[in-house]
């Protein structure tokens, strides 16, 4: 006999929190033959086999410890979410085609040629269930950067036309219009004007010569436009000669996230060209994690030579300005915890910057347990937040993040990444969670000492 606890009514319409295997949906782009898809995948797999990746792909011990670092595996116990398994096809291709013993692998048929079924199956593993957060790269006893390999494996998937539709659409829109959300230069200008009025702040636009080129992410322009004003306030307060440019404002890089190096380069070159055109000494990147990876660490390699200007994440810029006394802030009597964007902190190396800023704000800073470089990812990075079919899984792994945040019992939750903020907001709404993510930059902008230098 079943007894029903009447205090909790059943809501049959609610989406289940329990893990549901994602529906099998192998998306395809274009109308290539299977053979052509395989060839395209091979082409872009083998392109990435250099000394660094070769040592990684040759070095794996199959110890399985990366599974314990991956939020997808930790939350689901699905062995397929073992990070190294996600790059199995990439690894297999390396061993069969390029590794030191490739001849014998082929001769003896020890590593199968990748098939179209393999590629389709791995679409889910390489996109829906990997945010390229790089936590697995830190646990690996061999020191293999698995996340980096996932990004490279995505090149083959993209060129084979085998990536999730949503991500492909966003990336395509980004390539065609210059923004993943279809923000045209006119629309950007519009929003900037609106923010300048709304917040009563001077925002330079399309200045011919400036020391600093500030850029924005479409997510901010669209969803968190106050960021535009905050950026302007801070740069104004620091006394920079700076500008936004309509010919180079979009910091996000969906070419990189989706795995298309060509589109990645187009997006990156727009920013580089704009900066060079105005003779900028520096590009200040917005609160966006992957933008930092794309320009700070991969930008010069897209350009093919060292960049003639510095690249800074806004948190780095603020930390630097505060340290040098270019800006000053009022103390904020609140307890704060900080969510590190993976690409800025763990993989970008700018972990300290946010802490310096928080220190200047004088808040009661509460580091999450195993925060900083070992932070759990928001679950939305690597383009995952765009893939609607992965929503269930994304929210499921977000539970880890919620626990981590709740344990701090801080008043405020801050971060410095609009993409993180977007996935936090989605899950916050979904779970009716108490914590609403705020922006580090906005907190600084709101608490600037007006009489600053």
């Amino acid at each position: 006999m079943t007894t029903v606890d009447g205090r909790h009514t059943l809501d049959r319409e609610a989406e289940r929190l329990a893990y549901k295997p994602p529906e099998i949906r192998h998306d395809k782009q274009g109308d290539m033959e299977d053979e052509a898809r395989i060839n395209a995948a091979m082409h872009h797999f083998v392109k990435n086999f250099n000394t660094q990746t070769a040592s990684y792909l040759d070095g794996c011990l199959h110890c399985g410890m990366c599974a314990d670092a991956c939020h997808y595996h930790v939350r689901t116990d699905d062995p397929r979410y073992t990070p190294i398994w996600k790059i199995e096809l990439f690894k297999r291709t390396y061993k069969r085609q390029v590794g030191p013993f490739a001849f014998f692998y082929r001769l003896l048929g020890l590593k199968r040629h990748v098939t179209i079924d393999d590629l389709e199956e791995w679409q889910h593993l390489l996109y829906d269930s990997c945010t390229v957060c790089g936590r697995c790269s830190l646990v690996c006893p061999m020191g293999i950067d698995i996340a980096g390999l996932v990004s490279m494996a995505r090149h083959g998937m993209f060129k084979a036309g085998l990536i999730p539709h949503e991500l492909h659409e966003v990336a395509k829109k980004s390539a065609e219009t210059g923004s993943p959300l279809g923000i045209t230069p006119e629309k950007f200008e519009d929003r900037v004007e609106w923010m300048a009025d709304e917040h009563d702040v001077e925002i330079p636009m399309d200045v011919e010569q400036a020391d600093v080129l500030a850029v924005m992410s479409s997510i901010e322009i669209q969803k968190y436009p106050q960021s535009i004003a905050a950026t302007a306030k801070i740069l104004n307060a620091a006394g920079e000669t700076w500008t936004f440019r309509t010919d180079g404002f979009e910091a996000t890089n969906f070419g990189m996230l989706s795995g298309n190096p060509d589109w990645q380069k187009v997006a990156t070159m727009k920013l580089i060209d704009a900066a060079i055109k105005i003779g900028a000494k520096m590009i200040v990147l917005p609160e966006c994690g992957h933008a930092y990876m794309a320009l700070r660490w991969q930008g010069a390699n897209m350009y093919g030579k060292p960049l003639p200007f510095k690249v800074m994440h806004i948190s780095e810029y603020m930390a630097d300005a505060l340290e040098k006394g270019k800006i000053r802030v009022k103390h904020v009597p609140k307890s704060v915890t900080y969510h590190d964007p993976c690409q800025v902190s763990r993989r970008g190396g700018a972990t300290k910057a946010a802490r310096v800023v928080l220190d200047h704000l004088g808040v009661d800073f509460r580091e999450m347990q195993f925060g900083g470089d070992y932070n759990w990812c928001c679950g939305g990075g690597g383009g995952v937040v765009t893939i609607t079919r992965a929503d269930g899984l994304r929210r499921r792994v977000f539970k880890l993040k919620m626990d981590q945040v709740e344990k701090t019992e801080a008043d405020e939750l801050l971060s410095s990444c609009a993409n993180c903020r977007q996935s936090f907001d989605d899950s916050q709404e979904y779970f009716n969670w108490d914590y609403k993510m705020g922006s580090l930059m906005e907190m600084v902008a709101e608490n600037l000492e007006e009489d600053g230098s």
Binding site: F45, V46, K47, Q97
Partner: protein, 351 residues
């Protein structure tokens, strides 16, 4: 065929009491490495055993084995055994020589056809019959002729058992062991350079008492004496386990009687009874004298690398071949990388 007396009768004639006989049987059991519970069976067997005829052939040898045996030929218990056998031919020990000696051999062979024992020391040269002859007969011919009517053959010493020193590389005389030539008769190998005298007599005693061949190991050696290694029965074994080793022949470890493994002791792979039977009427054995075992009772002991090289060292050639292997590795690596790059180019062109 005249009836030979039994051992019991021989002993009785010498006025040995039953108690004395029991004592003799106890020491026999001890020699045969049989448990003391076997003593009554030994007593019964020995009493009724008959004196066998023994022909001893010496080929390419140094007479060390005979020396070893005669060291124990004083009237001891082992000596009694020799009283109990009829040594009808032994060209070192017998008084007769020349034709007379050969006549004695033929007489013994005829008289005891099918039941006599042939003991051989020394190896047989196959290279040229002239390398070693006795009374103008080549060793090979004499062996074949004598063995024909024998009950069994005992190869005494490492030369007869395994070729020994004459058979050592490069083996100029083409020396071979007895069991390479005698295939239709049982051959018992009693190797050692020389073998322990007690072991030689014990093998005869066993044949004498039980009328059967002892259980042999894969090298044809009686398991009773060659069943365990020197190392296993060595009184210095505890030092091996404790990791206490003499490093040189005159260091503190050597003086303290520590394990000689590092000085090249072959005890772990040498099967013989030295450690317990000991030498010179039970006085000691080489390791007790401070010298590592040479492994003289093992096949090809002469050719197993230096006596003073530790057992666990591998046998490597000079470093040149290893350097060659390294160079080959570099070459393969270069080829593999070039092939990998070509493979990359192939796919990037096609893709």
């Amino acid at each position: 065929m005249k009836k030979r007396p039994t051992v019991g009768e021989v002993l009785q004639a010498k006025g040995v009491s039953r108690r004395g006989f029991l004592k003799y049987c106890a020491t026999t059991a001890s020699i045969l490495a049989l448990p003391p519970s076997m003593i009554p069976r030994i007593a019964a067997a020995i009493e009724s055993a008959r004196r066998p005829s023994v022909i001893w052939l010496s080929f390419q040898e140094c007479t060390g084995c005979t020396e070893s045996l005669t060291r124990s030929a004083s009237p001891t218990v082992e000596g009694l055994i020799f009283d109990a056998i009829s040594l009808d031919y032994h060209h070192t020990l017998q008084a007769a020589s020349g034709d007379q000696a050969e006549a004695a051999r033929h007489a013994a062979m005829e008289e005891n056809h099918g039941s006599y024992l042939v003991l051989v020391d020394g190896s047989i040269p196959l290279g040229n019959p002239g390398y070693s002859t006795i009374a103008g007969i080549s060793n090979l011919d004499m062996l074949k002729e004598t063995v024909e009517g024998a009950a069994a053959v005992v190869a005494i010493g490492s030369c007869a058992a395994f070729g020994g020193i004459p058979g050592a590389d490069p083996n100029p005389t083409g020396a071979v062991a007895v069991d390479e030539l005698v295939t239709d008769k049982p051959v018992i190998n009693v190797p050692g350079c020389p073998p322990i005298p007690m072991v030689m007599t014990a093998v005869l005693t066993q044949f004498l008492t039980f009328g059967q061949l002892p259980e042999l190991d894969k090298h044809g050696r009686p398991l009773a004496f060659y069943g365990q290694t020197i190392h296993d029965r060595c009184y210095r074994r505890p030092f091996y386990e404790q990791g206490k080793f003499a490093e040189t022949f005159d260091d503190e470890g050597a003086k303290a009687g520590w394990c000689l493994y590092k000085l090249g002791c072959k005890g772990p792979i040498t099967y013989n009874a030295c450690a317990t039977a000991k030498w010179n009427s039970g006085t000691s054995f080489p390791i007790e004298g401070g010298h590592p075992c040479l492994g003289c009772s093992e096949p090809a002991f002469w050719d197993k690398g230096g006596f003073y090289n530790p057992l666990s060292t591998g046998k490597f050639d000079s470093g040149t071949k290893l350097a060659g292997a390294a160079a080959a590795g570099v070459a393969m690596g270069v080829v593999a990388a070039a092939a990998g790059r070509r493979r990359q180019d192939k796919f990037t062109r096609e893709g």
